[in-house]
Symmetry: C2
Subunit: 293 residues, 2 copies
């Protein structure tokens, strides 16, 4: 059953926060959304488009009287936001977040929320992309996408249920993971690819003949580097928050690349073709849904 | 003006060869297309769909009497095909190819075609992708795409003009490069990204928890790894043919990755954000067409 919320506070009215607001409204799951954003133009746009119904500059003011608060800022700001809203949280208020890393967010919450930690049910919606800002927000963003809930030992089952219901009202499918497992998985399948895409584009852009190189880049390059258009601050925070796991992934990838380099250096055509074929087959199984949960 | 061809021979009826045939037919630039393919099912499909009008198993038989021959096989086979068709080439016949590397193709042609080298105008259509086979062929594949011509000193201007016209009849925009320049540019913007995508997917697929990892991979991963679904044999040949330039690109990328690793290790959030922002800005300029030729 779709839960009902009277006042939803969205701290960070960007792509994710704005889409959450729109989706809850479309599901008739909330009466009023109050938004907080750092960029006044973004907040004005959110008001104009009816993404939020009112705005505040202070997270605590937005959280006061809210029964659901979404923290959708870059992850490095989560601790500050938690500390700011803690005194304003009503006894029945629930908090969730949208951070792409979870260990750091949970640690920050533990430090900032004290007794009220039980009111936070951390989450990570697997949605987004290279577009950012409320201008790209959509009520459909989470439809059919997974949201990973990372419930805390302190959470009451009813709190988890209600936050889960909010994300489901947005159209999301719910998965559950431990913070450590979450951060390890996403270091591999999301954070590393972002770092590789940024590195490749930066490497090419820094060359004398970069204009010529880009002029011949085509569709394959466009898709491969799409994630290099992602939000720099958001990805800075993710990389720093998940540094150790990302370093481990980088080391694994560098080792694999070194082994591919060895095959190429040796002109081992058969081994290269096998590797390519195995990669293509694995990706094919993934696309066919063999790994769907 | 669109050139006219009586008999076009397509050696290698796959995505590129099939699309070339369909596009020339649509442009009414040819009367008859004869196809040669290694896979009888693929050739049968090409006949059934009217991609080709007849088929041969022997490249020489297809080339005999043809006024235009497209060699659209994986690049390692180009030399053998050139040697096979050389005795069958009429005095006015023209040959072009679709190989993604050019130095090796030109060297193979020099060895195999002898006097008839002047009849070959090498080309590389910047089209294709993760789909292969004649089933994916389309008369629209080259529309608005670039075809890089790599004319030889031996070519008569009229021959270059006529081959250029054939590709333009397919809707392509023509660029010209030297073989060495071509192979260096595409090592950077195409061959390296393919190798990275294959390597990443292979690395993840080989892990104990690969099913879990893939189950959380989302849209960013899908786009980043799309080129890892490309044809393994085709990419084996490209990597081997362009080995030295690709090794040089791998070394540059590994050095860049090592510098990014250093920033991450040091927790240098500011430098990471600057690098991400510079990469995003460069990609944005590219998407906006700033580097279009």
């Amino acid at each position: 059953m779709t839960p009902r919320f009277e006042r939803v506070a969205v701290i960070g009215v960007g792509l994710i926060g704005g889409s959450f607001a729109l989706a809850l409204k479309q599901a008739r799951a909330c009466s009023h959304v109050v938004g907080v954003g750092r960029d006044p133009r973004n907040v004005r746009l959110a008001l104009e488009r009816g993404v939020v119904d009112s705005s505040e500059t202070d997270p605590a003011a937005a959280a006061r009287g809210a029964d659901l608060i979404l923290v959708a800022t870059p992850v490095a700001q989560a601790g500050k936001v938690f500390a700011s809203i803690a005194p304003a949280l009503g006894a029945d208020a629930l908090v969730t977040d949208a951070g792409s890393t979870k260990c750091g967010v949970v640690a920050a919450a533990r430090a900032a929320l004290g007794e009220k930690l039980r009111q936070l049910v951390p989450a990570h919606p697997i949605a987004g992309g290279e577009h950012s800002g409320v201008a790209a927000a959509s009520a459909q963003l989470f439809r059919g996408r997974r949201v990973v809930l990372v419930p805390l030992a302190e959470n009451a089952p009813a709190a988890v249920e209600r936050v889960s219901g909010a994300w489901q009202a947005c159209g999301a499918k719910i998965a559950r993971m431990e913070p450590e497992e979450h951060d390890a998985v996403f270091a591999a399948v999301s954070h590393l690819p972002h770092l590789l895409a940024y590195a490749l584009v930066h490497e090419l852009a820094g060359r004398e003949n970069s204009a010529q190189l880009f002029s011949y880049a085509a569709g394959g390059f466009r898709d491969f580097t799409r994630i290099a258009s992602s939000h720099p601050e958001m990805w800075r925070d993710i990389c720093v928050a998940n540094r150790d796991r990302l370093l481990a992934e980088l080391a694994r990838f560098a080792a694999k690349l070194e082994s591919v380099r060895g095959l190429l250096q040796a002109g081992d055509a058969g081994a290269l073709e096998r590797l390519f074929a195995e990669a293509r087959a694995a990706r094919g199984r993934w696309l066919e849904g063999e790994y769907d949960a």
